[in-house]
Amino acid sequence: MGSYILKRLLSAIPVILGITVIVFLIMSLIPGDPATAILGSYATPENVAKINKDLGLDKPMVARYFIWLGNMLTGDFGRSFSLNRPVIDEVLERFNATLILAGTSFVLCAILGILAGTISAARQYGFADKAITFTVLIGISVPSFFLGMMMILVFAVDLRWLPVSGMYAIYGGGDLPDLIRHLIMPATALAAVATGVVARLSRAAMLEVLRQDYIRTARAKGVPERRVIMGHALRAAMVSIIPVLGLQAGFVLSGAVYIEIVFQWPGIGRMLVDAILQRDILLVQGGVVFVAACYVLFNIAVDVAQSLLDPRIKT
């Protein structure tokens, strides 16, 4: 197992390098002179030259890439000019908030989705199945940002159950219950689509598995039906559900951008949108590379989980 994890980690290196190349190439598409973009059109030539030197823009492209890459490897992602602080500090702080939000949503979508899909399959064509299928259809069709807005209207404005936005109350907040109160709506809105997708897939996977001969064997052995479904069938279905969970992690991470805007959540998605509107390129670059690299590592964890579940995968 250890050597398998190591092998997968090594295979991540070229992927992460590829990610830096792609980000670098995209950023080099920026029309015109980045210095002017940063300083505005009234920049003095001295300032432009200084910025160019600071950013290493006076060197050829390949050299610039390697300088950038080398700096990142030493933890130096550059300095955000709009926030006037090191990019890595801002990214780590913001990513932490995103991780709380997206992580909660991911756990929600995995648990609720698999549960709903399993019930749906076990009660195929029954009332529960129809109710779940219908809810799922609505869930995967509502844009998360619209769902978030409607939740604010209902649960924060009308019913006053939950805070409208933010991660902590401004006065007297900051503890875990406060965080949870702030987390409920954004995490739910963010999880909705992913839950629907997981539920659909789990239902299909369970239906497929329940028709297999080994399920008939379990029943012939006299295994109680609850154990047939939650044990034998679900375990086998997880083999096709887990890769989709890996995909959903990407969707949740992506959807977090919208939800962070709607709920004023101080996460990395909101940071990126602000940075784009401010043309703070180093912040965008650093944030994108950091999150993408984390996602690659997460997917390795998914692969490892898969190999733990399925002994047929060669490790």
């Binding site: 497929e208 001969d213 052995k221 006299g222 805007i261």
Partner: protein
């Protein structure tokens, strides 16, 4: 195509999606000629008018602009942008896929590595990076969304082209001296075009949603121009005071995405032929029972199948897989049930503890009595307690009948645990002992292996060990040796015979092979088209078969070393059991058939222990 459309519209939800989407498209097409107010005319005195106020059907927004007009123009823009993004992603992605798939080798390698890396991004990060580089704007958002979807097309199309590129017609084109470009355009592209169109139709809803999302973030369409996303984004500032302005564009996005989803699901289902037969239904824990006739009286056999009827219902057709079968076994006895595939022998076996997949299976009549108790009418819990404990099964293919993800020790232990309270260490010892019983070498280490790590013969031994786990009274072996090679088959049969004598088991042995019956069974019942056509002691039936079908079936068995007999296949096929003619079901394939054979029902008659269902038997019994 016609059948596809019919299937599509039989799906009510898909039809609903089609109608909603059609209405939206119609509205969008008519938008330029509808008598709408100008979407850009601001009127600060008329801000946030409610619906139907001052001639604004959907009210006005924060600048006093007519919402209906903005909604329709915005929808038009959103649909166009989404469609354009899908088209662009499809064109670029498919081109990449075709090139990678057609040329293969290093070209393919390099391209697919790059595609993998792009797919390693959470998609929106890449889109944001592109918008960051190009600057906010609707066209740039469109490019970004198209770009992140390129890998999806590239990967799918490559997969198809790789197989196409190896096909004969492409080789032929190459040999005829056509250039690569010409082959791609004239041979490859026409073949992948339908796939591209389907992939596009499944992603278009997604693209509409994503471009709307970027606009919502303020990175797409810039004011005053507005698509649905930026309408929603602008309205968000007044969400709490004037929610209606947010609801209008939000609901429209929802309707578009949902109708596309519904339609997409419908298309997928209509294209997937497995759904047509209802084969995707999952089987219930016990076969459904709908008995209307009288329940046969109790007998003193260990296990008795009495006038059993089992049917399969598929659409309007009813397949009478088992049409009134009666069998019985005593302790220590082995009964062979033999017949061709489709004769109903396996369904009979599975009906005994109600394991026939249901839907579509239904038990419609008769009884199965174990020690006098009727199992067809039993509750699930009663039946579960008999399954595996008193009546156990050995199935045909041990690779598919053992759970692939549990160690065999766990599967054996579970068989015991669900019926008896046994400690963990005891369970393990029992499991090892069982493996030894079925002559598996190194049982102590084998117990921790997975089914895929064993050979077919070893797996079948595990299957037998599992059936023996609770020392059942009856074992039903459903073609347990069919998937094995001949030497292993002989070992397994010898093993079953030993066990039967050691433990006094009753065995119902289902097979299509008279050779196997001769080795193991005391009595045999021959099935054809869901009914027993002949029954009696094995020796007598082998020596003097009475039913012409039995005789033909015996003639199918090759004899070792003698070579005197001609190996005779039975001409024709067994009948489909949804519309059986009256009389003998074998008559159409029988060379002794007379008109009388097909006139009326023929009873199973003869002097015990033999009986035959034939009016012109080979031998009088």
């Amino acid at each position: 195509m016609n059948r596809f459309l019919k299937l599509l519209f039989r799906n009510r939800l898909a039809a609903m999606g089609f109608v909603v989407l059609g209405l939206i498209l119609l509205a969008v097409i008519l938008t330029p000629i509808l008598p709408l107010q100008d979407p850009y005319t601001t009127e600060l005195g008329a801000r946030f008018k409610g619906p139907f106020e001052d001639g604004h059907i959907l009210g006005t927004d924060h600048l006093g602009r007519d919402q209906l007009s903005r909604l329709l123009w915005g929808t038009q823009l959103s649909l166009m942008v989404g469609f354009a993004a899908a088209l662009m992603a499809a064109a670029i992605g498919s081109t990449i896929g075709v090139i990678a798939g057609y040329f293969g080798g290093r070209v393919d390698n390099v391209i697919m590595r790059a595609v993998d890396i792009v797919m390693a991004f959470p998609y929106i990060l890449l889109a944001l990076a592109i918008v960051a580089a190009l600057g906010p704007g609707l066209l740039n958002a469109l490019i970004a969304i198209a770009a992140v979807n390129v890998p999806f097309f590239a990967r799918n199309i490559r997969g198809i082209v790789v197989t196409l590129a190896g096909r004969e017609f492409v080789d032929a084109a190459r040999l005829s001296g056509m250039s690569n470009t010409r082959i791609i355009i004239t041979e490859i592209v026409p073949n992948v075009l339908p796939v591209i169109v389907i992939a596009m139709s499944t992603t278009i809803g997604w693209m509409i949603l994503e471009t709307a999302g970027l606009s919502f973030l303020g990175l797409g369409s810039q004011p005053p121009q507005a698509d649905l996303g930026s309408m929603l984004g602008e309205a968000r500032a007044a969400l709490i005071t004037h929610p209606f302005t947010s609801v209008v564009p939000g609901v429209m996005i929802f309707l578009i995405v949902m109708s596309i989803n519904l339609l997409g699901d419908g298309v997928r289902d209509a294209l997937d032929p497995r759904l047509k037969s209802g084969a995707l239904s999952r089987p219930l824990p016990v076969t459904t029972v709908k008995r209307d006739g009288p329940i046969p009286a109790e007998t003193d056999d260990l296990l008795a199948v009495q006038d059993l009827h089992t049917q399969f219902h598929a659409g309007n057709r009813v397949f009478r897989a088992v049409g009134g079968v009666s069998l019985s076994v005593r302790p220590g006895e082995c009964l062979g049930v033999i017949g061709e595939s489709g004769s109903g022998k396996s369904v009979t076996a599975l009906s005994i503890t109600r394991l026939v997949a249901s839907p579509p299976g239904i038990i419609t009549g008769g009884a199965v009595r174990f020690q006098g108790r009727d199992m067809i009418g039993a509750s699930y819990e009663d039946l579960r307690q008999i399954r595996g404990d008193k009546v156990a099964y050995i199935f045909q293919d041990p690779l598919s009948t053992l759970h692939p993800l549990y160690r065999i020790g766990e599967q054996l232990a579970e068989a015991i645990r669900v019926h008896h309270k046994v400690g963990k260490e005891d369970l393990r010892q029992r499991a090892i002992a069982l493996l030894k019983d079925v002559r598996i070498p190194n049982a102590e280490s084998r117990i921790d292996t997975y089914p895929h790590e064993m050979s077919g013969g070893m797996r079948q031994r595990v299957g037998i060990a599992m059936a023996l786990a609770n020392e059942p009274e009856v074992i039903i072996a459903d073609e347990p040796t069919t998937a094995l090679d001949v030497t292993v088959q002989a070992q397994i049969l010898a093993l079953l015979n030993d066990l039967r004598q050691e433990k006094g088991l009753a065995i119902v042995f289902i097979t299509h092979d008279f050779g196997v019956v001769a080795q193991l069974c005391d009595r045999v019942a021959v099935m054809y088209a869901g009914r027993i056509v002949e029954t009696g002691p094995t020796g007598q039936i082998l020596d003097t078969p009475a039913h012409p079908y039995t005789k033909r079936l015996i003639a199918c068995v090759p004899e070792l070393g003698q070579g005197k007999r001609v190996l005779a296949a039975i001409p024709g096929l067994p009948p489909v059991v949804d519309d059986l003619p009256p009389g003998c079901a074998f008559a159409p394939r029988c060379d002794k058939a007379q008109p009388a054979c097909s006139e009326r029902d023929i009873p199973l008659a003869g002097q015990a222990p033999r009986a035959v269902r034939c009016i012109y038997p080979e031998e009088a019994v």
